[in-house]
Symmetry: C2
């Protein structure tokens, strides 16, 4: 869907001549859809379009524009126009939008926002303190917190007032705050609707509130919300004072981002922000070159091992024939174990302290899987050899069992160790595990060969 | 937290002597936490505990138990007890719970449920028709749909009545249904609270409703909900009749499941349901053995290539020294490209029709990345050779550029091709790409060597 298909090719004329009709047509669509059309227009058209849209609808579209276009638009608009758009945005998106701007413009906009809506300007400053990736960086300050002794009819009246005034979109819970905004309870909108209006908030709210610390990793909030099937979750500071709320729609984005990041690390790519085509070629290149070079330099070890067994290979060239097969089988077994363990670690199904159980399972799996492919390898080698077929087939099959076992153990235990020392296990990427098991596999195979073939 | 730590080691005595105190203590906790304690108890204790809990709380705990324990409990309870627990469950969880039982018990329970709550029994039968993985399999039938001409005050009264009667938990939208339950509009609870009670639902509802088909893949609903930041989304049948609602909490689970499945496929593991330790050893073993054997048999090709170049290797043994380094570098480049493309495909950032743009980017990336590691490889080979160092270094470095390029192209274009023919691109796992580039890498390296070294 393109704007031209809505308004004909000459949408500039429509925009100039009948802004009212234009506005009404656009308001029929979801803000997300408008944002998708708008992001591909030249900046002058975006500016013209936002001048026609009412601020509250424009703010919704602005929240959904990609960061670079959002910053561009805020730069091109007059400071007064930008500030009144910002005033209508959700607090978390507003903070992100201001954060992305140049220092000069940021200060000018905050000063203007101080005049239009001082509370919003203060919120931007408060949220700016939180680190990227923390709960504070994804939480919103648009929640309803009231003293527990508030009557239910009064609570509902407050909800109506705040919803109107503060553009609250995600309203599912009312929080009970006492003793200086300390979080003491929570009631769902459902419970409020069902309650007798003359009761107090304290009568219907639950006192055992699952909460998250504002400075914790945003994944902690995502995990808790996913686990309890919450629609929102309160964030508190170290003193137990409520400072914000994380909503489930942000959690969906966090879960998708983290899975992408894990997948990229596991594929030996430094995480890239933005999509495949959105990432500039040089950034794409950079995300790959470091790991490719590191793995390549690590691969020098395989050449060293090969050199030190050059004599054996010279004597029995058929030995070399099975090198690629054996080392890649060890790598495959290692990738399998690493994939299963790294994902289990990131879902908190397995912890580093479980290493004994993991070791037991992988020992058994490694030996039995190794026997299956080892038998196949025996047959392949037996029929390939010119002379001394039995010895070669034995060396090959024993080596295969060994590399599958070693691959499984390295692939499963290394991520546990990496997590144990406080690093992200996903960096023990499957190519890294595969390269490591290349070296070990060569040592095992050529070592066994040298011992058995004398 | 264990039950014993709450009630002392003798919780059986407490349960028998003071069930009331027991119940009250448990109700202080979230159903999810109770479920986590309960799932590790012997089945007799679980039965005793559920007999003490009120049905609505028990139903909440039951919804959160793992499938096997849930089925076990429903089998051990009297049919009447099981049916009244089921009656209090959320429709989607209820349908899942009944679905998992043996045919005999299923029929008996449905017959009993027909007596207690015939509507619920019918819903179970309706939801049972949907395929696993479809929108219908995750949607709930607990939503509020009313004629558009309903007055707002009447809408709110209906919401109150239905919330109480049908245990609606996820209530964020009211849907406008007309002409035989056709979906014609949607209003958020926020809009209803803000509206003038004397208006009609039609006055406040949006008419352009984003919807999903009940038979579509559940990922379609997950994608739309994530994209629009919805909290719930209506599902309709082919006639446009509303048949259910997908809520964002189910979407979080879908997103996590799909990411896990993708990660496992990419690591050459058949997806396993349940966690690392929850999966029985034999199922774990099965998830690995097929791919390991397939990749091993595919690896026979590398042995074939090696055999056909045995003459060259025999003449220049130093050639063999670099085989592991060269083929694993091609595999690494392939893994990188495959990881980036497969994730981009599953997030719908890239489509198979983009293959020309992908080809362009990967050509450029492959050649330039290949040159970086090629220069390093030149140096390593130059200093390793005894004689004719320049020729060997040239062969090695040209081969490295070639394998990085081939790896990048295969790794990026193969997933696009697999998606194009209608299969899941994640099955072109990184080990699969690596194995394929092993064969190609060997052909390239030994072919170039044979040509250049004469």
């Amino acid at each position: 869907m393109r704007l031209a298909s809505l308004f004909g090719p000459d949408f500039h004329a429509t925009l100039a001549e009948d802004p009212q009709a234009f506005r009404e047509a656009l308001e029929e669509f979801h803000e997300e859809d408008i944002a998708e059309i708008v992001e591909e227009l030249p900046i002058e058209d975006i500016v013209a379009l936002f001048r026609v849209l009412p601020d509250d609808f424009g703010a919704g579209v602005l929240e959904r524009l990609p960061e670079d276009r959002r910053s561009e638009l805020l730069e091109k608009l007059k400071v007064e126009e930008a500030a009144s758009l910002l005033a209508e945005m959700q607090p978390d998106d507003r903070a992100d939008a201001v954060q992305d701007l140049d220092e000069g413009l940021k200060d000018k906009l905050l000063a203007q926002l101080d005049e239009v809506e001082p509370e919003a300007a203060q919120e931007v400053r408060d949220l700016a303190r939180y680190e990227d990736g923390s709960v504070g960086s994804i939480m919103t300050t648009a929640y309803v917190g009231l003293p527990p002794e508030t009557k239910i009819w009064k609570v509902i009246e407050e909800v109506r007032r705040l919803t109107k005034e503060r553009e609250l979109e995600s309203l599912y819970y009312v929080y009970g705050l006492a003793f200086g905004d300390k979080l003491v309870g929570v009631a769902s909108l459902r419970e409020l609707i069902l309650a007798d209006p003359s009761q107090e908030l304290a009568d219907v709210m639950a006192h055992n509130v699952v909460r998250v610390l504002d400075t914790e990793d945003r994944e902690a909030a995502a995990r808790a919300i996913a686990k309890y099937d919450f629609h929102a979750m309160p964030a508190v500071d170290l003193q137990g004072k409520m400072v914000g709320m994380v909503t489930v729609d942000d959690v969906v984005d966090v879960v998708i981002d983290e899975a992408t990041e894990d997948a990229q690390k596991m594929g030996a790519v430094s995480p890239i922000e933005g999509g495949y085509f959105q990432t500039a070629f040089f950034d794409y290149w950079k995300s790959r070159v470091t790991w490719l070079v590191v793995l390549f330099l690590g691969g020098f070890l395989t050449a060293n091992v090969m050199q030190s067994f050059a004599g054996e290979i010279e004597r029995v060239v058929t030995l070399a024939v099975f090198i690629p097969l054996i080392i890649s089988t060890g790598g495959n077994a290692g990738s399998q174990s690493a994939t299963l363990i790294i994902r289990a670690l990131s879902l908190h199904e397995v912890e580093p302290s479980d290493w004994m159980r993991v070791l037991g399972r992988e020992l058994l799996a490694g030996i039995t899987l190794g026997l299956v492919v080892g038998v196949l390898g025996f047959a392949r080698a037996y029929f390939a050899a010119d002379t001394d077929a039995l010895s070669l087939a034995l060396v090959v099959s024993v080596s295969i069992v060994a590399v599958v076992l070693v691959g499984s153990l390295v692939g499963s235990l290394l991520p546990l160790l990496i997590q144990r020392v406080g690093l992200d296990p996903a960096v023990s990427s499957t190519p890294f595990i595969a390269s490591l098991s290349d070296v070990v596999g060569l040592l095992v195979y050529l070592g066994i060969a040298s011992a058995m073939l004398g």
